[in-house]
């Protein structure tokens, strides 16, 4: 009993420091949970690289949920992470082998309900790879401006200086134009798909 409550406290603390992006918390998550997940992926025919990929994805899910303050754990953090990792690995495995493994639903996992988290994550991953393709094709200066603003969190002022606009207002107008172009490419440009398919 005592042991249990201890776990809950440290899990909570860990999650809130993770939400703040504390690198110590990430280090602790790595050292506490990676070995178990590596072992599990090994057992299910995966390599070290597979295990680490799966672990990165699982922690990303945890981080995003923690950041959005959207994580209500009904179990220990380790159980949650292992369940996420297992599902992700089985999904990846069935994709690789083009054959489906039905994911084992035992009571424990039904209580955790991670399917939605995983589906949302996979959708995001899909969007990000689409986004990367769009960025490849959108060209300069849009590529640079959008990345600087939305991914590197630079201020409009700095962006104006970096990209040679007379004032932040002009840079902002340009940014909206770029975003609009990106949106069109992302959502309804059929040629984008074809081009990329040819590339592959």
């Amino acid at each position: 009993m005592k042991d249990n409550s201890l776990h809950i406290v440290s899990d909570e603390v860990l999650i809130s420091s993770l939400a703040e992006g504390d690198s110590k918390a990430i280090g602790q998550i790595y050292s506490s949970y990676y070995p178990a997940i590596e072992k599990m992926v090994f057992k299910m025919n995966g390599s070290v690289d597979d295990a680490f990929d799966i672990f990165q994805d699982s922690v990303t899910i945890l981080y995003e949920k923690a950041k959005a303050n959207n994580l209500q754990l009904s179990c220990k953090l380790s159980t949650y992470l292992i369940a996420i990792a297992k599902h992700l690995w089985l999904k990846k495995l069935s994709k690789l082998k083009k054959q489906s493994f039905s994911v084992l639903h035992d009571n424990m996992e039904e209580n955790i309900r991670i399917d939605d988290d995983i589906d949302q994550f996979l959708e995001f991953e899909n969007n990000v790879s689409k986004l990367t393709k769009c960025f490849e094709q959108i060209g300069d200066p849009c590529n640079g401006i959008l990345k600087a603003f939305y991914i590197d969190n630079k201020s409009m002022q700095n962006i104006a200086i970096e990209f040679g606009y007379t004032n932040p207002e002009n840079a902002k107008t340009q940014k909206y134009k770029c975003l609009n172009r990106l949106r069109k490419m992302f959502f309804n440009e059929p040629e984008l798909k074809e081009k990329n398919e040819r590339k592959c």
Binding site: G21, Y34, F42, E64, Y150, T173, R183
Partner: protein
């Protein structure tokens, strides 16, 4: 153009939740009236989420990579990677030996051509070179021995007594077995003893903590049972009052027991298990429960401590779903049909016996 930019600015402000209440109210009304605007807003939201996600994943990937690389450079090779290690060792060792041999032959030829006329010199170098070759041979022998030892270490049965023992039964004839997780949990040296009393090193390939199940695989590429597994695994729930029997290893020899299903739920109503009236003792954990036609209907997992004769078993559904998580080299063709239906109990037991094994774990 400016007007356009203004709309985008508003959309972005709305998506990022930067509007005040009044502004937000009017904008939402606008969205409700204007489907084109609603579509734009929705698409912006997806884009902004994608940006966010890219940011988060990059942050986590980068931070974890740092820890991962620090960790990798410190750790000793894991036991599970032993095989890989042995392979690597061999390659390096043989390359090193070849290089050394070529070098010494080259030295021998060169030196001989230089001291062509000096017989004493030739004798000296000859002796030296032969010594050199001998030491290389010796080195190679050492390496061979070491690799051999490494291999043996993982395969030899320890000479000290085992820590726990339980029962396991075959799931197919190529070395997959099931037992209770509690029998092997936390141990890496696991040996399966077949009924000819030969121990086989094994590894865990799947576990189910909740249902206390573990699937083992015998780690020998040439291992197989003599024939197809004779029993099948029943998919449906067990029936109350059904007569059953079990085969397990509470001692060094196999022990037969019979009884009946006394309840279709387990301890305190646990619906993943069921209750048997069947004597059991330590060592029979993981033993199969069979019905009269030789179908496995459950796996023994424990007993009630106060009441003598009450045993609990895990239902086969849990086992079947665990089997589904196994990699594709697992063939379950053995467990779909019972070969022993309609035979007498003695005949059945005789056929089943070789497929029931002792599982022992060592520190």
């Amino acid at each position: 153009m400016n007007e356009n930019a203004n709309i985008y600015e508003q959309i972005e402000k709305y998506c990022l939740d930067l509007m005040d209440e009044k502004e937000c109210y009017y904008f939402e009304q606008e969205i409700a009236k204007n489907p084109a605007l609603a579509k734009s807003v929705h698409e912006y939201q997806i884009l902004l989420h994608s940006f966010d996600h890219q940011q988060s994943r990059q942050f986590i990937h980068d931070s974890l990579s740092t820890f991962h690389h620090q960790h990798r450079s410190h750790t000793v090779v894991l036991f599970t990677q032993l095989k890989l290690h042995v392979n690597k060792y061999w390659r390096t060792a043989s390359v090193a030996a070849c290089v050394a041999l070529i070098a010494s032959v080259f030295t021998f030829i060169t030196v001989r051509s230089i001291y062509k006329h000096d017989t004493k010199g030739v004798y000296e170098t000859l002796r030296l070179v032969s010594k050199e070759i001998n030491s290389i041979k010796k080195n190679q022998g050492d390496i061979k021995n070491e690799v051999g030892n490494l291999k043996k270490k993982s395969a030899a049965i320890p000479d000290y007594p085992s820590k726990y023992s339980g029962t396991g039964f075959a799931l197919n004839n190529s070395g997959y077995l099931v037992t209770n997780l509690h029998v092997i949990d936390g141990f890496s040296k696991i040996f399966v003893f077949t009924n000819d009393n030969v121990g086989h090193p094994s590894e865990v390939v799947a576990t189910d903590e909740i249902n206390d199940l573990a699937i083992l695989k015998i780690n020998e590429s040439d291992f197989s049972f003599h024939d197809k597994v004779p029993y099948s695994i029943r998919k449906s729930n067990p029936n109350i009052a059904q007569r059953i029997y079990s085969l397990g290893y509470p001692k060094n020899d196999i022990v037969y027991n019979e009884g009946y299903i006394s309840s279709t739920t387990g301890f305190e109503g646990d619906s993943n298990r069921f209750q048997l009236e069947l004597p059991s003792g330590p060592g029979v954990s993981g033993a199969p429960i069979l019905d009269e036609s030789g179908n496995v209907v459950g796996i023994i997992s424990g007993k009630q401590s106060q009441t003598e004769g009450v045993t609990f078993a895990i239902k086969t559904q849990s086992l079947l779903s665990l089997c589904k998580t196994l990699p594709s080299d697992f063939e379950s063709n053995g467990i779909n049909t019972s070969e022993i239906k309609g035979q007498t109990r003695t005949q059945q037991v005789k056929k089943i016996q070789p497929y029931i094994c002792v599982v022992k774990v060592y520190n």
